[in-house]
Symmetry: C2
Subunit: 337 residues, 2 copies
């Protein structure tokens, strides 16, 4: 067994100096530090994380289970991921990315003892992964919500977000407001929870207007956006404004509307919600967006999980933050008939 003394001797420094480097507790001159690190590697001295894990049954590693982001990375999702990684790091934890949704793999990973806790993204209304986590006893926190409201979660406050979007559009005279959301391949009851919540918030928010609801769900792609434009034109020609909660379809919606002779914002106003300002600015005209508080929510999710692990919370945290309105050039006065 290699000891800290062996490392100190090899690097020709005191044991205290080795400890400063290992624990990050005090500044050590770069050359000295490099010498100590080299000695640690040469002697294969693995004290810190691994030994501490065995001593305390804690690894200080958190796993983020995420959907497949490789094929279709999404500006907002990645802000959640990075926010969580930063938040974990600041509290002395490491975040592992697990591109795992398959049940068998999840089982293997949970049984491995690698992680102290799990963050779950793209949470569905009824989510088998949540059942698995509950059964396994591994602490977790959700980015999103299931139908059960008693689990620890952080999420976008969709009710407040949609209410604000409708109020903004009404202030420009719009009374026929459509909703464009995302179609998924999930079976009924297994959609991401956000879709159900957005639709329900929309129905509440437009109820005072007395107009019938106009909801279109399309894929989160340029093609999906074009499809939305043509469905809106065919089925809901009276709508003068759209709330879009599907950032991948935003460019297609604008291009598709223009191709059908509906200019943005002269004929059709658009608010893109739960997205980033940068993405809105890429489009012509620059979109009025409601920016998702994704970096903050990612951090708060890590905090919620770590609070659980460290036993410093009374009740499961429930954090909801609305998106922030950032006006662009895609909202204008409602056209007069």
């Amino acid at each position: 067994m290699v000891t800290m003394r062996d490392v100190a001797e090899r690097a020709n420094v005191s044991i205290a100096t080795v400890s400063f480097v290992i624990n990050g507790s005090k500044r050590v001159a770069p050359e000295t530090r490099a010498r100590i690190e080299a000695a640690i590697q040469e002697l294969n001295y693995r004290r810190n994380v691994v030994a501490r894990a065995l001593a305390s049954s804690r690894t200080r590693i958190l796993a983020l289970l995420h959907p497949d982001l490789e094929s279709r990375p999404n500006a907002t999702v990645i802000q959640f991921v990075m926010g969580a990684a930063h938040g974990a790091r600041e509290r002395g934890y490491d975040l592992v990315l697990w591109p795992v949704n398959d049940d068998e793999q999840m089982s293997h990973l949970l049984a491995g003892g690698l992680v102290d806790g799990v963050l779950l993204m793209e949470v569905r209304i009824s989510d088998p992964r949540v059942e698995r986590l509950l059964a396994s006893g591994v602490p977790f926190a959700l980015i999103g919500r299931t139908e059960k409201d008693d689990l620890p979660y952080v999420d976008i406050d969709f009710a407040a977000t949609i209410e604000l979007a409708v109020a903004h559009l009404r202030s420009f005279g719009h009374e026929r407001i459509a909703l464009v959301t995302q179609r998924t391949k999930a079976q009924a009851g297994h959609e991401p929870g956000r879709i159900m919540r957005v639709e329900s918030a929309y129905l509440d928010a437009i109820a005072p207007l007395g107009a019938p609801p106009a909801i279109v769900a399309v894929e989160g792609t340029s093609a999906g956006g074009r499809e939305a434009a043509s469905v809106l034109g065919a089925d809901f020609p009276g709508s003068t404004a759209v709330i879009l909660v599907n950032e991948g379809a935003s460019a297609g919606l604008v291009k598709g509307s223009r191709a059908l002779g509906r200019r943005v914002p002269e004929d059709l106003s658009i608010i893109s919600a739960a997205t980033t300002r940068e993405l809105g600015e890429m489009i012509e005209p620059a979109l009025t967006v409601m920016a998702a508080p994704a970096p903050q929510l990612g951090r708060l999710a890590a905090d919620a999980l770590i609070d659980q692990l460290e036993g410093v919370q009374d009740a499961p945290p429930h954090v909801l933050i609305p998106c922030a309105l950032e006006p662009g050039q895609s909202v204008g006065p409602a056209p007069v008939d």
Copy 2:
């Protein structure tokens, strides 16, 4: 010390069944698996990863050191990250995200013994992090290259990419081709290696045309893209085509050019290189892109590192893959004077 037998007894199954679940070596009925996982948690049985790490001095964890992606996520960078996470997982390793560039923090992490190896992104021509890794003895692989060509790396083949872009533009009659690249805050010699390589490839590729080079470096933002449009108009009015290697500036370049009365592609053709097709499609007109092989390179970087760890490589791997041309609507015939 809790043993596997304790877990088996608590879950009321055989030791073999516990082992199947822990090692993922055989299918086990979901209810049984859940019972075993619950027993593992209740008894705080941490065998697999932690014990194996202590026994073998290996943790099977890789760290990805990345720049701060939270504030400005970039479609292509994230494909690298996810590609690496998938690649690691397929070979039985976990990828930890380390949002760390600070020297002090890096030292702490390397000394902690958590990781078997490191992947480095956004590699600079002269990169102090590489020196640190070399000094520490921790195995690593680069996504990108320093000026030294003897380290293990995977990278975009910028020379072949730019050559192909120039050939494509020449086939449309363009002879005055400008380059728009990215300005960074890094001091000279510490820029990302890709910028130097792109400029050098551009100079080689346009040399046969005999026209003077036209290089503009701007920030990777919409404002940067607009700045590029106005600098091109003022300093290089004869250029009829642009190769853009700065995806964050792509929308701004198109909007800025249009605002100055230069239509795309009638007056100015644009190829956006080292980006994604999806990003190009968001813009009006849809950009001709050269798609970065980011998911593949991410995987190959993980492979290069794991091959090192497992001693199955003869020489440091050097992998270069060019971007793939995907025609859009932003390249047209060179305007006739």
